[in-house]
Amino acid sequence: MRLAVLTGEHYITGDEACAEGALAAGCTFFGGYPITPATEIAEHMSKCLPEIGGTFIQMEDEIAAMASILGASWAGVKSMTSTSGPGFSLMMENIGLAVCTETPCVVVNVQRGGPSTGLPTMGAQGDMMQARWGSHGHYEIIALAASSAQEMFSQTITAFNLAEKYRTPVILLADEVIGHMSEKVIIPEASEIKTVSRPKPQGEKEGFRPFQPGENGVAPMPSAGDGYKIHVTGLTHDERGYPVMTVEAQAQMVERIVKKIQNNRDDIIKTESYSLDDAEIILVSYGISARTSLAAMNQARALGMKVGFLKLLTIWPFAEEKVRALATKARAFITVEINYGQIHLEVMRSVAGKAECHLVGHAGGTVITPEQVLERIKELY
């Protein structure tokens, strides 16, 4: 029998590291559907989960996969799915159900070129806004990015911890290059890995309100079979979970699930800063393009140009306070991403005219090279 947490140094792909991160976080249910370039996550989970007493199921499509992980979450376990563009589109309605019913779960999107079937085997970062707004209605979502196999491991754990802490779906946005690339991954001992589990209710079961927020604005979450007689619905509901079709109930519920994320931005948003103190030009990037950006920054610095780099580990909610503060010091921002400007729009919004905003991006299928970024830096410098 394998231990839930593999420890030590391993040379594995980003997808495998993601699966190992999920196991280390305590995930015991995976519902999935094969799709390049995310399939290896499902394959790895199908091998490991039965060995640790968990369950893997390949569902009939991504709609079912997403529904199954919500059911599993309400049965009390940590659950996840993984997919890419076309499957991510199919999951959207039930991601909304997860938001509305405050169901913790993790959805990994290993991005490929789109729209439609696009470039199945080639990377892109075109689903950033879909992750933010892909399900209908107004809501907040947590989405993370990973720029190495090591981060696929650690960010998957973070995704589970945030999902459990805030009772919300968390999306991990990877890309084909990170998913398929093999790299050294160092996995610590299980005792060194911090894991979080959802708050559980205590005390009186009769009359318990499963949507009445406790600390942090998050309500303790019972599981099916615990005796709380909960009702869970995707209709607008009150704190008992009962449907209430009024303007007031809508305002109350939506405001609460939006605020539960917004009020905890400081806890959720993580970035890494590289040479920002004296930077005149700041690169903003994430995922595989973060590596491009770091290399470009180092090359620019070697040429004596004051360039810094802000790496986004959390995509949503967007690190707007951080970018806004930097905009008072820097002259220009360059967002580096494999699309025609998605996070770029967020940077522009946050900078609010205080600095120039530029984009180095393309439609997908390959990475952006450091030279392409350096060229733009030189033009601006």
Binding site: T55, V77, T233
Partner: protein, 279 residues
């Protein structure tokens, strides 16, 4: 005397009240609608089957029938349109101790959710699926569905339905369900007995229940509730164990009711444990 009667009446508690969220009554169902009768048959069967109710949950999709989960005073889930079965699959596989009941409409389970139904039955996930078949989309105001009889009028087939409906028991049998039955809401005792049986059996159990939707199907097809119930009495034949291919929905020929499939294929969890888990 009159005062006495009044006093004792106020203390009368319906024997199913403890299974109902009475604070959510009145329910949304129209006068003459058949869903409530099927729901109460289900509640009775839950009691008579003696399953552990604390470990029992109901999952519904979307529709008038899908509102049932919201009235049950047990763990209950009102999910998305068509997705009750995959949600229920996750619940059951993640906690095999749970008794899982899916209660939903024909459009939900067989039009938008048809793919999930056949795969749930194929895997033989241990759950009881009760489909209230009113031949139409009730909640959205009476559009054609995958179960609407040929020539029936709906708001989207104003001159009559050109397409053939599914034979649901045949589909369930062919997909692998362990237990398959069909009743109408008029056959309440037999229906309750079959639900009771389904709840205590292993594997995927499916019960189709015909029930009137006077508001939409009835009005469009000039058939009031009482006339629908007469059809249920006069145009049905009880024949257990008939070949499922004979179960077409044809009121001219007569609709066959009964218990059609009762077999012991291993369940999804049994297969997984046996095949995928290293002892």
């Amino acid at each position: 005397m009159a005062a006495d009667i009044q006093a004792s009446q106020s203390e009368i508690v319906h024997p199913l009240d403890h299974l109902i969220r009475t604070d959510r009554i009145p329910h949304i169902w129209c006068p003459g609608c058949g869903i409530g009768t099927v729901f109460s048959a289900c509640l009775k069967a839950m009691i008579s089957s003696r399953i552990d109710l604390e470990k029992t949950c109901m999952v519904s999709g979307i529709g008038c029938t899908g509102r049932a989960a919201g009235y049950l005073n047990l763990d209950s889930f009102h999910t998305t349109h068509g997705r009750a079965i995959p949600f229920a699959t996750g619940l059951k596989l993640a906690n095999p101790e749970l008794n899982v009941i899916v209660f939903s409409g024909d459009g939900d389970l067989f039009a938008i959710g048809g793919n999930h139904f056949i795969h749930g039955a194929r895997r033989n996930v241990d759950m009881t699926v009760i489909c209230v078949n009113n031949f139409i989309y009730g909640m959205t105001g009476g559009q054609v569905g995958a179960t609407t009889p040929v020539k029936a009028k709906t708001t989207t087939t104003p001159v009559g339905n050109p397409d053939a409906p599914f034979n649901l028991p045949l589909l369930a049998w062919a997909s692998g369900a362990n237990y398959v039955a069909r009743w109408t809401m008029l056959h309440i005792r037999k229906l309750t007995a079959c639900i009771e049986k389904a709840l205590t059996r292993k594997g995927f159990s499916f019960i189709e229940v015909l029930a009137p939707c006077p508001t939409n199907y009835g009005r469009k097809n000039k058939e009031n509730s009482l006339e629908t119930l007469r059809l249920y009495r006069d145009k049905t034949i009880i024949k257990n164990n008939v070949d499922p291919s004979e179960l077409d929905m044809d009121f001219e020929k007569g609709i066959i009711l009964g218990e059609f499939v009762s077999r012991e294929r291993p369940t999804c969890i049994e297969n997984y444990d046996r095949t995928c888990r290293i002892p």
